[in-house]
């Protein structure tokens, strides 16, 4: 390989990650509105079609959307290898996902087969294209280490979740293979603990020490965590085909819970030793996420240790809700406030440097720094709204009287997040114009 062509500056254009990141919170708003329309009875069981549909809007439209965008920015940096045909891949993935998710989600919720078929096909196309691109990029990478291992295993987990999801969807449409309920659990564990948890861990190895200046993750932990979680997921998949005793499955589930809890504890411990004393909103979002993860695990374990708890009904949903909204959404939300301001600054700065190189346009315009891209005050307000929404939605699982206000808060929090990110994009547009040669 020609080393001089090793690419260390393949920063994709701003719109590549930004289109994913600005669209994502709108899907959280859509989730809240759909749930409001469906009403609190949707929470009575995890098998309610409304709940399944709305959840897919949240996990595909919000979580996967941001993660796809972030990966396109991340791969050139940590792997030195961008997605193949990155601009085209990005446009097509975003288009298919943004279009397919509402059809799939609303189709599942209203049991409209045509919408599930249409939305499912579009979403499968988006996810498959992303997986293919990410695997090629990872295979081309010369980098090694825990982050790369974590990214590999996360993407393979997404592949598992996608295949199982497609299988389940075709079963729902009455044209698939047999549909044992256990398969839903396997689909769920690969999506949540493989794709989401492993990707967050792989990114955390880089960004926790980086942004908060903590010590590095202990080497043994960083090396072992993703392979251990992945192996446990493989073992937990076996009972779908082999008849394993239930205690063995439970034991493996407990091992998985301990591994996930260890990630939360190690990260909180690292953050407690951070060198940067100023706690910004991102630090609070991270802490919220990690504590929610611990709470989710504790409640899940409690449900297996205390017979008769939780009572049937909405409370059964508490661990998964804490994982999705408490852990994954909080951390992603916090990261957006680092990624978007930095990218806006980076692209404006590159434009200014270009001007300087070509001696044209505006050479020394004082472009906004990271704190000036999105007003810090608005990010703090959004953090408070997120906390209120999280507390409210958890409360709504105990008492349905909170259902409407909590979902309105969730919609408000994500509406404000969209607004804040759009402000970042607006700043870019405005400064981009000012830096143009013709502006002089």
């Amino acid at each position: 390989m020609n080393l001089s062509r090793l690419s260390l500056d393949r920063t994709p254009p701003l719109w590549v990650p930004l289109q994913f990141m600005i669209t994502a919170p709108l899907f959280a708003v859509l989730f809240a509105l759909l749930m409001l329309w469906l009403g609190p009875q949707t929470l009575l069981s995890r098998w309610m079609p409304g709940l399944i549909g709305a959840t897919h809007i949240l996990v595909l439209g919000y979580l996967a959307m941001v993660m796809f965008g972030a990966m396109q920015q991340l791969l050139p940096v940590v792997a030195g290898s961008p997605l193949p045909k990155d601009l085209l891949t990005s446009r097509v993935t975003h288009g298919l996902l943004a279009l397919g998710t509402p059809f799939l989600g609303i189709g599942l919720a209203t049991q409209a087969h045509w919408a599930v078929m249409l939305g499912g096909t579009l979403v499968l196309g988006a996810v498959a294209l992303f997986i293919l691109g990410a695997l090629i990029s990872l295979a081309r990478s010369r980098a090694r280490g825990p982050t790369l291992t974590g990214l590999w295993l996360a993407v393979i987990s997404l592949l598992m979740a996608m295949v199982l999801g497609g299988w389940l969807a075709s079963g729902h449409l009455g044209q698939g293979w047999p549909l044992p309920r256990y398969l839903t659990n396997i689909h769920l564990i690969w999506a949540l603990f493989g794709w989401i948890a492993l990707l967050i861990a792989a990114v955390a190895y880089q960004v926790v020490p980086m942004f908060q200046m903590t010590p590095e993750y202990p080497r043994l932990f960083a090396r072992g965590y993703a392979p251990v979680v992945f192996s446990l997921l493989v073992l937990l998949t076996l009972p779908a085909w082999l008849h394993l005793p239930e205690w063995l499955t439970l034991l493996m589930g407990m091992a998985l819970a301990i591994a996930l809890a260890a990630f939360a504890v190690v990260t909180l411990w690292l953050q407690s030793r951070r060198r940067r004393r100023n706690a910004d909103v991102t630090v609070y979002f991270w802490r919220t996420g990690l504590i929610a993860l611990l709470a989710a695990i504790a409640l899940w374990a409690l449900a297996h240790l205390l017979p008769g708890w939780p009572p049937r009904g909405p409370l059964m949903l508490l661990p998964v809700w804490l994982f999705l909204a408490g852990f994954a959404m909080s951390i992603i939300n916090g990261m957006l406030y680092k990624i978007v301001p930095f990218l806006v600054w980076l692209h404006l700065n590159n434009q200014r440097l270009n001007n300087q190189r070509l001696s044209t346009g505006n050479l020394r315009a004082p472009i906004p720094n990271m704190h000036e891209v999105i007003p810090l005050k608005l990010t703090r307000w959004q953090l408070y709204l997120h906390w209120l929404a999280l507390t409210g939605t958890v409360g709504a699982l105990f008492w349905s009287g909170l259902f409407v206000p909590a979902l309105l808060l969730l919609a408000a929090s994500n509406g404000l997040l969209t607004w804040n990110l759009a402000q970042g994009a607006q700043q870019f547009r405005c400064w981009h114009r000012r830096l143009k040669p013709s502006a002089n």
Partner: protein
């Protein structure tokens, strides 16, 4: 003998800590401490950048066969850091707390992303290809003082 990866990664962390000290002092509006921290950071950062630009990168260029390859990108990012550090110094001199903190955060993020590329890709590559003359190179690196 210490690897290139270990030495330079350690040097990165030292610079990071100097910058975090500066940030804390500015946030506390402890201006004498901030001036001292800024001078120390400036010295350590410049020493690190020059260790790379005058010693490590030319050595890397010999085996990649070009100075227009990965090291050119790294040199460009070094210049971006120097420009941002000037912004930090300007805002510090004006005692403008918020703009100074914003500039520090931006510089910190730029440095961190730059470090990831070096630590994940460039240093391991350098260790692999420069094993023969490494001891001599690292001897020079250690004693360098910024010009």
């Amino acid at each position: 003998m210490q690897t290139i990866q270990d030495f330079f990664t350690h040097d990165h962390r030292d610079c990071d800590h100097r910058l975090a000290d500066l940030e804390s002092a500015v946030a506390d509006q402890d201006w004498p401490a901030a001036e001292t921290a800024c001078a120390r950071f400036h010295h350590d950062l410049e020493r690190h950048l020059q260790r790379e630009e005058t010693l490590l990168f030319p050595a890397i260029d010999t085996f990649t066969g070009s100075s227009g390859g990965p090291t050119e990108v790294m040199r460009r990012e070094h210049d971006q850091m120097r420009a941002l550090l000037t912004d930090v110094q300007d805002t510090l001199a004006r005692r403008a707390v918020d703009p100074c903190l914003g500039n520090i955060e931006t510089l910190m993020t730029l440095i961190q992303l730059h470090n990831v590329k070096e630590e994940q890709i460039l240093y391991p590559m350098a260790d692999k290809h420069l094993s023969a003359g490494r001891d001599h190179l690292m001897g020079q690196v250690r004693t360098l003082e910024p010009a």
